[in-house]
């Protein structure tokens, strides 16, 4: 290695060691570009469920239909039960009590 080479290598080493001062304004500009060019994070899609429709009483349609069905069943049971069992309370009723003359019709038809 010649002395020229050595001197040059010393200069290169000096250049490698020297710190380049970056102006604050340049860093700010570079970071502003970074923010502007930054791909937006993909936000997870929130699937909105449609708002449940409410009846005027504040119940959902499902609950309201259930209540109506239960009500109708109650009425049906109430009406049908005496007919099926033939009883109201403790009193016994015959068919002629409920439909007077019906027995006569049946008898006339049998004789005629």
């Amino acid at each position: 290695m010649t002395s020229d080479d050595k001197d040059l290598d010393d200069l290169f080493a000096l250049a490698r060691r020297s710190r380049t001062d970056v102006p604050e304004a340049l860093s700010t500009r570079v970071l502003a570009d970074a923010v502007q060019a930054m791909p937006k994070r993909v936000a997870p899609q929130v699937v909105q469920r449609p708002a449940a429709r409410r009846t005027p009483l504040g119940l959902g349609w499902l609950q309201a239909s259930g209540l109506v069905a239960v009500g109708v069943m109650g009425v049906l049971i109430g009406v049908m039960n005496p007919l099926i069992s033939g009883e109201f309370g403790n009193d016994a009723y015959s068919l002629s009590d409920l439909m007077p003359g019906f027995q006569d019709v049946l008898t006339d038809e049998a004789e005629g």
């Binding site: 002395s3 040059l8 200069l11 250049a15 860093s27 570079v30 970071l31 570009d33 970074a34 930054m38």
Partner: protein
Amino acid sequence: MGLAGMDGSDAPDEVLLMAYGQGNSHAARELTRRFVPRLLAYATRLLGGDRAEAEDVTQEAMLRLWRAAPGWRAGEAKVTSWLYPVVGNLCTDRLRKRKRQGDWPEAEPESGQPAVDEEMGHAQRLQALDQALAALPERQRQAVVLRHIEGFSNPEIAEIMDIGVEAVESLTARGKRALAALLAGRKEELGYDE
């Protein structure tokens, strides 16, 4: 890819860039801290000491990096191998434009400076080196700076400059000889023994 388990200062450049591509702003800050001083120094030397233009080039190169981030794939390229050619090309464009406009600052070594008798300060030596570098042909200057100041290997320089390794060796050898010749007359002034 994230930066889990590290504050970013230990992460490889490529990991940081991909993290930025996924919206990580800390990665942008770390990449800026790592690359802006190096690119600014490199561009300043390629542009013969024009600091204002070197700042513009640095900003433009970093902007291109930000824009390339979303498509960056692991193992595809090194960030340095991508950035340095961008800076080199931007500087070449500006130098050509300068030449066309006849606005080429002659980088003549300042001779006859009243050298301080004893020793030149570091700053003055660096100035002398930069002036000599500015007097080299553009490709020689680029190869010498990449090899001897930025510390790249010849194959890396070949990739950056898009030439063969032999061409790199030739450019750096000729560049060094030219630099030695340019600085020969200033040895005493630079504080070196004759």
